[in-house]
C-alpha cells in the first residue's frame, strides 16, 4: 500500500479510452471500444463481463500482445508507472522497451493451464527463461530461482519437479507453474485472465488462496479477469464490469454487489443462484432466477446506443440513441447508463 494510506491511492496503471479493433474479412470488430479504468498499487481489480465483451483483449492490449494484424490499438493510452517512477504510455513504447516490461514489470497468467505451457521444455526451463531474460542471471542461477519459485507457489518436491515436463503435471500444478513463472521477476502488476475457470472448485480454491497469499507477500497489483461473480467477490477490491467492448460499471466491490447502477450488472447478479441461500427446500415453491433475456451481442453489429439496450428490461427509447457516457454515481462508482439515477433513487426508497 502507499504511504498515504488515507489519501487517494497511487495509480499503477491507467487505461484511458483504449480502443482495440480487429480488421476481419467481415468488417471491423471493435473488441475494445473506449475502455477507461485504472489500477492502484497493491489492489486487485476484478474485471467481469460477458464472453466476448473484450476482457481478454483489454488485458492483451496492456501487454501489447494483440496479434497485429489483424488487430490494432486504434486509440487511447495505457499509462503504466513502472520502476522508472514516471507513468509511460505503453501504446507508444518501442517493441524493445515493451519486452523489458513484459514478464518483468507486468506479467500474465492465462485461463488454460493445460495449453499455456510449452510442451517440449521442462517447467524449470520455462521459468528460468524469464529469469534469465530480465535478471541477468546465468542458466544455473536461473534454475535455482525457478526451483525457489516452485517451492514458493507450493509445489511439493520442487527440486524434482523443476525438471519435469508440463504433461507430467496436473492442471492445478500447471497453473501454479504459470504463477511461479509470472511472479519470478517480482512484477508490479499481474494480469490473471480467468486463471481458475478451467479448474475444479477445490483446485480453484487452492489457486485463489495462493494468489491472495502471494499478493500479500509481494505487494503487487492484480488485474483479475473472470466471469465468475463469486470469484470477483472474493478476490477483488474494485470491480470493472464490461459489456460489448465497453466498461459499463466500475467501482468498489461492495458497492457493485450491493448497489449496482447498471442493468447488466443487476441482471448478472440476479441470474446466478447463491450457494446456500438459494438451495431448494422441498415443499416450498421453487424460486426463479432472473434471467437476462436475449443473446450475447454480435461484436460486428453492436447496437448504436447502449450495447445492452436490446436485452435491458429498463430500456427506454433514448437508450438506443447514443452510447451513454460513463458517469460517476458518487465515490468513484461509475456507471454507463442514462437511468442510473432512477436506480439509485429506487434503491434508497427500498432501504428507506
Amino acid at each position: 500500500m502507499t504511504d498515504h494510506a488515507t489519501d487517494k491511492a497511487e495509480v499503477l496503471l491507467a487505461v484511458n479510452g483504449l480502443k482495440t479493433y480487429f480488421n476481419t474479412d467481415d468488417g471491423v470488430v471493435k473488441s475494445v471500444d473506449g475502455v477507461t479504468f485504472h489500477i492502484n498499487k497493491g489492489e486487485t481489480l476484478g474485471v467481469v463481463g460477458e464472453s466476448g465483451s473484450g476482457k481478454s483483449v483489454t488485458s492483451l492490449s496492456i501487454m501489447r500482445l494483440i496479434p497485429m494484424p489483424p488487430g490494432e490499438i486504434a486509440g487511447g493510452e495505457i499509462l503504466f508507472k513502472g520502476s522508472k517512477g514516471q507513468p509511460q504510455d505503453i501504446v507508444k513504447m518501442s517493441e524493445a522497451e515493451m519486452r523489458k516490461i513484459r514478464g518483468n514489470e507486468i506479467s500474465m497468467i492465462f485461463q488454460e493451464p493445460m495449453t499455456s505451457l510449452n510442451p517440449v521444455y521442462t517447467v524449470g526451463d520455462q521459468i528460468a527463461e524469464a529469469v534469465m531474460l530480465h535478471q541477468d542471471k546465468n542458466r544455473k542461477d536461473a534454475m535455482l530461482v525457478a526451483t525457489d519459485m516452485l517451492r514458493f507457489v507450493g509445489i511439493p518436491a520442487p527440486e524434482k519437479r523443476v525438471n519435469e515436463y508440463p504433461h507430467q503435471m496436473s492442471g492445478g500444478m500447471r497453473q501454479r507453474v504459470m504463477i511461479a513463472m509470472a511472479l519470478s521477476c517480482n512484477p508490479a502488476l499481474l494480469i490473471a485472465d480467468e486463471p481458475t475457470t478451467a479448474l475444479d472448485v477445490t483446485i480453484q480454491a487452492q489457486i485463489l488462496d495462493l494468489m491472495r497469499k502471494l499478493q500479500k507477500d509481494i505487494g503487487m497489483s492484480i488485474l483479475f479477469i473472470t466471469h465468475n461473480l463469486g470469484v470477483v467477490a472474493e478476490m477483488a477490491d474494485r470491480v470493472v464490469v464490461m459489456y460489448g467492448g465497453r466498461v459499463v460499471e466500475e467501482g468498489d466491490v461492495i458497492e457493485i454487489f450491493k448497489a449496482p447502477r447498471h442493468p447488466y450488472t443487476m441482471g448478472l447478479l440476479n441470474s446466478i443462484p447463491r450457494p446456500g441461500v438459494d438451495a431448494h427446500v422441498p415443499g416450498t415453491p421453487r424460486k426463479r432466477l432472473e434471467a437476462i433475456p436475449g443473446n450475447v451481442p454480435n461484436p460486428l453489429n453492436l447496437p448504436p446506443g447502449c450495447a445492452f439496450e436490446p436485452r435491458c428490461k429498463f430500456a427506454i427509447p433514448d437508450c438506443a440513441k447514443a452510447v451513454p457516457p460513463l458517469e460517476d454515481t458518487g465515490g468513484g462508482h461509475m456507471a454507463r447508463c442514462i437511468r442510473w439515477q432512477e436506480f439509485a433513487k429506487a434503491d434508497q426508497e427500498v432501504s428507506a
Binding site: K100, G103, N104, N118
Partner: protein, 326 residues
C-alpha cells in the same frame, strides 16, 4: 532408449513380414513362374534352371515357395537376376547405395529450402514476400518433378552454350573419376548430385513449405506462445525456440514416411538424369520380367522404410518429451 529400440524392432517385424508376403504374392500372380523369363534366356542353362527351381521350391505350392524365398532371403540370397545371370544382391546393392546418396542430399536440400521459407511465410504472414513465395510454390506444386527437371536441363543447356561451363547433365561421376583424389571424387559426385537433388527438393519442398507454414501459424496461435511472449522473449526466441520446435513435431513424425516418397520421387529424376540409381534398373527389370530383382529391390526398400520409420519415431521421442521412450 534401448528397450524402446527393441520394442520398435519387434513392432516393425510383422509389417515387414506381411510386406514380404504381399510382394511375393503379387509376384506369384505373374503368369508363369519366376523362371519363365529365364527359360527364354539362352544364357541360362537347363542345369541352372533346375538348380533354381530346387532352391526356390518352384515345384511346390505357392506358400511353400514363399517360405523358401523367405528362407533364402534371410540368408542374404535374393535369388538370381535373369538379366545378369547373377545373384540379385550384388547387382542391386550399388544401385541402392547410389539412390541413397541422391535421396539424402535431396533431403538436405528439401529441409534447407522448406524450413526457412515456411517459417518466413508464417512469421510474415500475408506480407508481400509471403504472398509471392506462396504463388511460386503453388506454381511449383503443379510441376511433375521430371518435367521441372526437363525444363531445368533446357535452361542449363542455354547457360552451358552461352558460357561453356561444364555443368554435368547426367550420370553420377565424371569420366576422370577414377583418377581423382578422395576429395576430388567426393566433389565430383556431389557436383553431379547437386542439380537433380536440388530440382527434386524444390518440387517436393513446395508441399512441405506450405505444411510448415501452416503448422507454424497454428503453433503461433497457441497459448504457450502467448505465454512466452508475455515473458518478454524476443521475436527470434519466440519463433525458433518456442514455435519451431513444436511446429516440426508432426514433420519429424513424418520423416519415416518421407523416405519412400523421396526414394520414389527420386526415381523420376534418376530416369531423366540417367543416374545409376534404383529406378532405371527397376524399369529395365520390368521389361525383362526380372522378378527376383524387382522383388529384391522392393524388399530392401521396404526394410529401409521401416528403418526410416523407426528413426523418425526415435527422433520424435527426442524432440517431443511427451512421447515416452523406454
Amino acid at each position: 532408449m534401448f528397450p524402446f529400440l527393441i520394442r520398435r524392432f519387434f513392432q516393425s517385424l510383422p509389417t515387414l513380414l506381411l510386406a514380404s508376403v504381399l510382394i511375393f504374392f503379387v509376384i506369384s500372380l505373374a503368369p508363369g513362374d519366376f523362371l519363365t523369363p529365364a527359360r527364354l534366356n539362352p544364357g541360362i542353362s537347363e542345369q541352372q534352371l533346375a538348380n533354381l527351381s530346387a532352391t526356390f521350391g518352384l515345384d511346390r505350392p505357392v506358400y511353400v515357395q514363399y517360405f523358401y524365398w523367405m528362407w533364402n532371403l534371410l540368408h542374404g540370397d535374393f535369388g538370381l537376376s535373369f538379366q545378369y545371370t547373377q545373384p540379385v544382391l550384388p547387382v542391386i546393392w550399388p544401385r541402392i547405395v547410389n539412390s541413397v546418396y541422391l535421396v539424402l542430399l535431396n533431403l538436405v536440400f528439401f529441409y534447407a529450402i522448406a524450413i526457412p521459407i515456411g517459417v518466413y511465410g508464417a512469421v510474415r504472414q500475408n506480407s508481400f514476400g509471403d504472398k509471392s513465395i506462396n504463388v511460386v510454390l503453388y506454381f511449383l506444386l503443379g510441376f511433375p518433378s521430371f518435367f521441372l527437371f526437363l525444363i531445368v536441363i533446357y535452361l542449363i543447356l542455354q547457360v552451358r552454350n552461352a558460357t561453356g561451363w561444364d555443368i554435368p547433365l547426367g550420370g553420377m561421376t565424371s569420366g576422370n573419376y577414377d583418377q581423382l583424389s578422395v576429395l576430388g571424387k567426393f566433389w565430383d559426385v556431389l557436383r553431379h548430385l547437386l542439380i537433380p537433388a536440388a530440382v527434386l527438393a524444390i518440387t517436393d519442398a513446395a508441399g512441405l513449405t506450405r505444411v510448415i507454414r501452416g503448422l507454424m501459424l497454428e503453433v503461433m496461435r497457441s497459448d504457450y506462445i502467448r505465454t512466452a511472449r508475455a515473458k518478454g522473449v524476443s521475436e527470434r526466441t519466440a519463433i525458433w525456440k518456442h514455435t519451431f520446435r513444436n511446429a516440426i513435431l508432426p514433420i519429424v513424425a513424418g520423416i519415416g514416411g518421407l523416405l519412400p516418397a523421396a526414394i520414389s520421387g527420386a526415381g523420376f529424376v534418376e530416369v531423366v538424369y540417367a543416374y545409376p540409381g534404383i529406378t532405371p534398373m527397376l524399369l529395365t527389370a520390368i521389361t525383362a520380367s526380372d522378378l527376383y530383382l524387382i522383388a529384391g529391390f522392393t524388399v530392401i526398400s521396404t526394410v529401409l522404410l521401416v528403418i526410416g520409420n523407426a528413426i523418425s519415431d526415435i527422433l520424435l521421442a527426442v524432440v517431443d518429451p511427451r512421447i515416452k521412450v523406454g
